[in-house]
Amino acid sequence: MGKAVVMGKNRIHQICQAVSLVLLILLVISVLIPAKGTSVVDFNVDTDSLRQMSCVQNGQELELKYLAQDRRITKFTLYFNVEQREEAQDCGRICYTWKSETGEILYEDSFPVSKIIREKMVGMLTGTELPATFADDPGQVVKLSLRGEGIPASVKVCLLGNGNREGGLVEVQYGVKYPGFPLFQAEAEAKERPYTWDLLMLLALALLLTVLTKEEKCSR
């Protein structure tokens, strides 16, 4: 009977050792092979001194300059305000183009103004995401051109900005300039290790159990 108990304890200790080893391997893997993720690298979203800035107009280009600082930007969010004097069926579209410093077009697309109107109805400051697929070709400075298409005269689409100088990584380069800096948020590729901490904690607990069971076995 006594021998059976000792064998049982021994087995438990061996299992604890095996679990610790597996956790250690997983921990090493989680450190060496990070997951792909994104993180906000630049932002200017302070709404204390919120103000309306340059407007997007049909056929006229509004150009913004952003200091990308060689980071692989994957998502860029701008904040718009839409004012409607009367209900319109079709509120038109906003076409945007990402260009390199030399003027080379990196990416272009468009989105309907109604998207901004829907977001505004939710009653909070919601940004409009502009996918930035120039991630593979980063540069010091990138330019973003915004142009209206089919926006009715009764609809006014303007950028939202603030007076926060620290957030002034985005500037209006071309178009009607207003004092202040546009609200924006830029996300870049980042390496994440989401499970490392959990594995470390589990490993510490497993080691604790290993220590406690080992000594019990020895004493018997």
Binding site: M201, A204, L205, L207, L208, V211, E215, S219
Partner: protein, 647 residues
């Protein structure tokens, strides 16, 4: 003779006695219902349409509605009902000239609100009334003529009616049943406290669930609900329906009558059919703070899969929290080697049960911390060697509890006070304690690393999501620049005991610390200070005069626990000073008395010396504690939930 024996046999069976107690409780609750409706039973139902007396006057842009009605010698009225369409949420006043039971006149003014989303508004009266004045004043509430034109009162009714109130009936049935249970099954008080806890937690918890309605009630519940809703939605994006969105934004109409509670349920069930907004979701349960929502998420998800109405699914999510608490603390009381009654009393403190019945992670934190600590204290009081699995389970539970609130993690270090004699040899003791220290440091890293990262990124704005003129890094710099002032501030704040925040409103914050900690239902209110006349003796009894001799901690262990408790208190105050208080402020904002609740079981290690032991029978001792707990819970629910909102 045989039939008498059978009867005796019937009464001897436990389940038969339980059924009898339940039946008696139902009968007594029904009797209360009849007593409550005494006026309408005696004088019959009455309904008066007083709309004809309604007059509107206009003075420039200001409008007034006034209705004065004289009831002669006085009639007993239950409620006032207003029907119409309301352009905006409109406060109104009902002034009553009442007749008291001695026949003398009195005055009563009731402030209430008609909500734009409904076409009816109810006000409880419950008095014999001689005259009634109903008044709506537009000056502050209606913005110009347009709103006033959309504000229309079609009918004003006052009535007295026999009414079976299911909330009131259930409340009395539950409290009578629990009282009967204790009186009939006395052994529950000494031998099966965990089952008595289960009955208390389930009974009072379900009452709180039912009476709180489908909207946020406890501290930041809307934020916790948002997290649960997002996690229960799954996928990379969340589709918000209008009901969930209004709940998250805390934009729901209030209720103070059972009719309005019913209307709110209907309103939310209708809103749940309206798609409202899409947003990004959490990637998974990777974020540590959201793991505590798991029980709520499972129940919420189950409710959605079953296709239940929104208001029921909302309650089901809360029930997930309640069930989790019930199971964990049942286990804690069951396995506790000593101080079972103390754990019982702390587990059924009104604020604890309230928190456990709402959307919040605080309930899970409390439950896991208590169970972890019970396991740890068992290792101290056990005479034999340390039990490996129980010890690791204790550490793991405290860690799990701290995932959402890392400030309690110093409590883990009490494991270092385990005597070396508990281990097989010194080497095992050292290795074990090193492991505990590593785990402690890992937990601290979750608390400290975000601050260091934000410092590295010179993100001065890193702070509490609730905003304000705050910034962790800026606050740290300010503290380093003024070390003496910082120490003074912390010492004076921690030992002040009268500087806790409740809702950030002076009238809601100005209560005894014990009331804020134990008898507090957040937005629903706090019991008056006088109720500490019951609470404080009970706490003194539990903490200083145990019912029997308990394990006596050595002076060194007590000092160590005292230091850990102080360290945890410093972390609590520090956390709020860094993230919630304006930079450079000479006052620490945001610390609530309830943050100390998980520290009460550890505190019991340093109170009581073993020289003071009660000479009461254990059954009497426990009966007093259970009785006080029953009174406090019943009073909290009655006063803060039933009378003020569900009559």
């Amino acid at each position: 003779m045989q039939s008498v024996k059978k009867k005796i046999w019937f009464f001897q069976k436990k389940w038969c006695r339980a059924v009898l107690v339940a039946l008696l409780a139902v009968l007594l609750a029904a009797a209360v219902e009849f007593a409550w409706n005494y006026q309408s039973l005696r004088w019959g139902d009455l309904q008066r349409d007083v709309t004809a007396s309604l007059e509107s006057t206009q003075d420039g842009d200001a409008w007034k509605y006034e209705c004065v009605y004289d009831f002669g010698d006085g009639v007993y009225l239950d409620k006032l009902l207003i029907r119409g369409s309301f352009a905006v949420d409109m406060p109104y006043t009902v002034e009553l000239v009442t007749k008291n039971e001695f026949g003398e006149d009195g005055q009563k003014t009731v402030e209430d609100k008609a909500f734009a989303v409904y076409e009816e508004a109810f006000t409880n009266i419950g008095q014999t009334v001689r005259s009634l004045t109903f008044r709506v004043d537009s000056e502050e509430n209606l913005k110009g003529k347009e709103d006033m034109e959309d504000f229309q009162i079609d009918q004003i009714l006052v009535y007295r009616q026999f009414c079976f109130n299911k909330y009131r009936f259930l409340f009395f049935a539950v409290i009578f049943f629990l009282a009967g249970l204790v009186l009939v099954f006395r052994k529950l008080l000494t031998d099966h406290l965990e089952w008595l806890f289960a009955a208390f937690a389930a009974g009072f918890g379900m009452l709180m669930l039912l009476l709180s309605g489908p909207g946020s009630q406890t501290w930041d519940e809307q934020i916790h609900y948002r997290n649960v809703y997002q996690l229960a939605s799954g996928g990379s994006s969340v589709d918000w329906n209008a009901a969930a969105w209004y709940n998250y934004k805390n934009e729901l109409p209030e209720f103070n009558t059972k009719e309005e509670l019913f209307m709110l349920r209907q309103y939310q069930n209708e809103n749940a059919r309206i798609a409202f907004h899409s947003s990004d979701n959490f990637s998974d349960f990777g974020q540590m703070a959201i793991r505590a929502y798991l029980p709520m998420v499972l129940f919420y998800r189950a409710g959605k899969l079953l296709g239940l109405p929104y208001s029921t699914v909302y309650m089901l999510g809360r029930m997930g929290n309640l069930v989790c608490y019930l199971v964990i603390l049942w286990l804690a009381i069951r396995i506790a080697k000593e101080k079972k009654i103390l754990i019982f009393a702390l587990a059924v403190l009104p604020t604890v049960v309230f928190q456990e019945s709402m959307y919040t992670y605080d309930g899970v934190v409390f439950s896991l911390m208590v169970l972890g600590f019970v396991l740890l204290l068992n290792e101290f009081s056990d005479t034999g060697r340390i039990h490996a699995f129980r010890f690791v389970a204790a550490v793991a539970l405290i860690v799990a509890g701290c995932l959402s609130k890392a400030v309690y993690v110093p409590m883990l270090l009490f494991a270092l006070a385990l005597p070396n004699a508990k281990f097989q040899n010194r080497r095992q003791a050292y290795l074990c304690k090193v492991c505990v220290c590593v785990i402690f440091l890992l937990m601290m890293s979750t608390f400290v690393l975000p601050v260091l990262t934000s410092s590295a990124e010179t993100n001065l704005a890193y702070s509490d999501a609730r905003g304000g003129d705050t910034g962790v890094l800026a606050q740290l710099i300010s503290m380093i620049r003024h070390p003496v002032a910082t120490v003074k501030l912390f010492v004076s704040s921690i030992f002040s005991f009268d500087n806790f925040r409740n809702l950030g409103v002076e009238s809601a914050d100005r209560y005894l610390m014990t009331n804020l900690m134990c008898l507090n239902f957040a937005a629903l209110g706090t019991l008056a200070d006088k109720w500490s006349l019951l609470l404080l003796p009970m706490l003194c009894l539990l903490f200083f005069i145990p019912s029997r001799r308990v394990y006596e901690y050595s002076a060194a262990q007590r000092v160590w626990m005292g230091l850990l408790l102080f360290g945890t208190a410093v972390l609590i105050w520090l956390a709020m000073y860094l993230s919630f208080t304006a930079v450079g402020s000479a006052k620490i904002e945001g610390v609530q008395a309830r943050y100390y609740l998980p520290l009460l079981v550890p505190l019991s290690c340093i109170t009581g010396t073993g020289r003071l032991v009660s000479r009461m029978k254990e059954q009497t001792y426990n009966g007093i504690v259970v009785g006080i707990s029953w009174i406090l819970l019943s009073e909290c629910i009655y006063q803060l939930m039933l009378v003020s909102r569900c009559l």
